[in-house]
Symmetry: C2
């Protein structure tokens, strides 16, 4: 299938139109992966990490088997067979070209790892990271900082909506990007407040970015696409499903430098987002409410069981991520375990090859290469003919 | 002065009437200390701990100076002189007899360390422990378990009063003793709910137990004296002052196995009680409320700054102290640092004298004697002709 995709002039032309960058093969393969695999497919993620998206696609849905031994340590043949059984039914070049056409028709971009707009935060998801993102609007917001996920119940109360509006409005006005899920209730209040403050906001959708879901948010989502960013992992044409909502939640948690749950019943889906944030080690805040209100019971659960921080004001949310001046993004090593592992494997004196860093860090050479590229941009590592080494310690702003 | 007190037939008769126990001299001296020293006077506490109440009184307000060298390590002569300057103006035998008469006239008891009713929990206050307590009503409640301090703002909202009523009513109905400060607002709601549930409640007053303060709680306080316990550190006839309110708060915190603040403004006095509970290592709970309500701001501060546990129901309060079956009281060593220090100084094999345990533990022989007595009752230590030793380890129920 990949050969068909790579040589189809329409597909190549479409990808050139929707992807900023010249890695056409990688872009097409990653777009195809969003079509054939459900969000968070760890087997797909493992293959892509081990082989790159193009070769992973080759063994996933082609007849190629010689590559299996290359990625052989990554997945067992039984797991790979299960994956193939999942992916093959969707492995239609027409489905990929439809996704690309759908994106082009709504002006959506494809953003893949290595792109300037790709948010490194998502790499913390490891093999559960998305293979690509479809973005309508300002893809640059994905790397803007700080980003605060403000989420909560759809069945919100006037109290919850009031607090979401106050927090998101204040944070957006002072430079934070408000990340949420575009849903009714708290999500909608947070997005609206950010837009109302002429601030930045990102809505992660569970279905394609060409679909307004929920339908009652058609106007709001269009405005977000115009002034902020509408983002999704599944391609255009995909309907939201329960699974995709849950999988989408991990992206909201991973993208945010902090997550705040404003109001949530005891079983609200926003607790799922909060659980992801806690699992990723992201600061987690919960807004308390009356103990007599069922719509705050989930927030109180977060305070009790997830060690969430009690937040009652925008300045307390700012304390959650320490600073609002963007310095969170400066030190990506502090945010990203891969960066830490790569730096741990290196020294300021010895020069190492990429393969040697890979061996020491336990990461793939490709991962090491991409991490070194980012660390190099940030001045954390240096390169010369002898290889890579750590830059001498320096004070960060 | 002490000689006058000890030989005054009226005083001796009064003490025999209001104190259950035959240590008349100790009782008179401790009653006198509550008259001459303000609550929490650490110099008084240090002297009493080092010398016993009678001899401490001798050097505090008598001409006795030879004892100073005995307690010499405890306080410097300058500190002692300052203390004498504070205590002497109040060192009137008539003031002591008036306090005793006042207690007798309202049927109050004097409870001193070593009495069956004396709550060991207060010993955690060290030199800030009260020298004695004046108790109207059921002194036995002071050692009943578990005891939960439920406190909060005087300027409470309907929400706060509702929650205080629910929590205190449920906890009292299931066997907990509700400890509070008798004030308007949350305190009053907690006491009333406990009484309404035919449960036990203790009100710690800042002034004498013969004074209904606040006046509007006259009926409530009378009911507590009849069905629960009204307790204070200053003697009858003492007016409440700001200092005495603050000092009283430490007793509420120390007596409770856990403290819960139901509703509190940002500067509520109940935060002082909470601070004492935290400093004493007692579990501390705070009930959240709307972030838009100023009367919950103090509770949110406790959640953020004091690492208070968020509590929303009586069962969550019960979780704070682990169990409601009284087992908290069984292991007094776990509650009381003196017990721990005495046990640490002992072994299961060697038999030790009281003086030897005192030397090893760094506690006074008197303290060791009283601690050993309690540990003996609980089967933690054994005694024979050769001296004291630890009882072999055993499983506690």
């Amino acid at each position: 299938m990949i050969e068909v995709l790579l040589t189809d002039p329409e597909i190549v032309a479409l990808v050139r139109r929707i992807h900023l960058g010249d890695e056409v093969g990688e872009s097409i393969a990653r777009a195809a992966w969003t079509v054939i695999a459900e969000p968070g497919d760890a087997v797909a993620g493992t293959l892509i990490e081990a082989l790159g998206a193009v070769d992973a696609l080759r063994i996933a849905v082609g007849d190629e088997t010689s590559l299996v031994s290359v990625g052989g340590g990554a997945v067992s043949s039984r797991v790979l067979d299960d994956g193939r059984a999942r992916w093959r039914p969707r492995a239609e070049p027409r489905a990929v070209s439809a996704a690309l056409r759908g994106a082009a028709s709504v002006g959506a971009q494809l953003v893949i790892p290595g792109d300037a707009a790709w948010p490194d935060s998502l790499d913390d998801l490891g093999v559960h990271a998305p293979s690509a993102l479809w973005v309508r609007g300002r893809a640059d917001l994905l790397r803007d900082a700080p980003r605060v996920a403000i989420v909560g119940a759809r069945a919100s109360s006037g109290y919850g909506e009031h607090v979401a509006t106050e927090l998101a409005g204040d944070l957006a006005a002072t430079g934070a990007v408000i990340v949420s899920g575009g849903a009714y209730g708290i999500d909608g209040a947070a997005h609206r407040a950010a837009l109302g403050a002429q601030g930045a906001t990102i809505a992660f959708l569970a279905g394609g970015v060409d679909r307004a879901y929920p339908a009652g948010h058609q106007t709001l989502l269009r405005q977000i696409a115009e002034e902020g960013a509408l983002v999704s992992e599944p391609p255009c044409g995909t309907a939201p499903t329960k699974w995709r909502f849950l999988a989408r939640n991990r992206l909201i948690a991973a993208l945010g430098h902090a997550t705040v749950v404003v109001e949530a019943g005891r079983r609200s889906g926003s607790l799922n987002t909060a659980g992801h944030a806690a699992a990723l080690g992201r600061p987690l805040g919960a807004v308390p409410g009356a103990v007599t209100s069922a719509s705050s019971a989930g927030c109180h659960r977060l305070l009790r069981e997830y060690d969430a921080q009690c937040v009652t004001s925008a300045s307390e949310v700012r304390e959650l991520f320490g600073s609002i001046d963007g310095s969170v993004e400066v030190s990506s090593a502090a945010m990203d375990p891969h960066h830490t592992r790569v730096l741990d494997a290196m020294s300021t004196r010895s020069r190492l090859s990429i393969d040697e860093v890979a061996r020491r860090s336990g990461l793939s050479p490709d991962r090491v290469r991409s991490v070194l590229g980012l660390l190099h941009l940030e001045g954390d590592v240096a390169r010369d003919d002898g290889g890579w080494r750590r830059a001498p310690a320096r004070r960060k702003g």
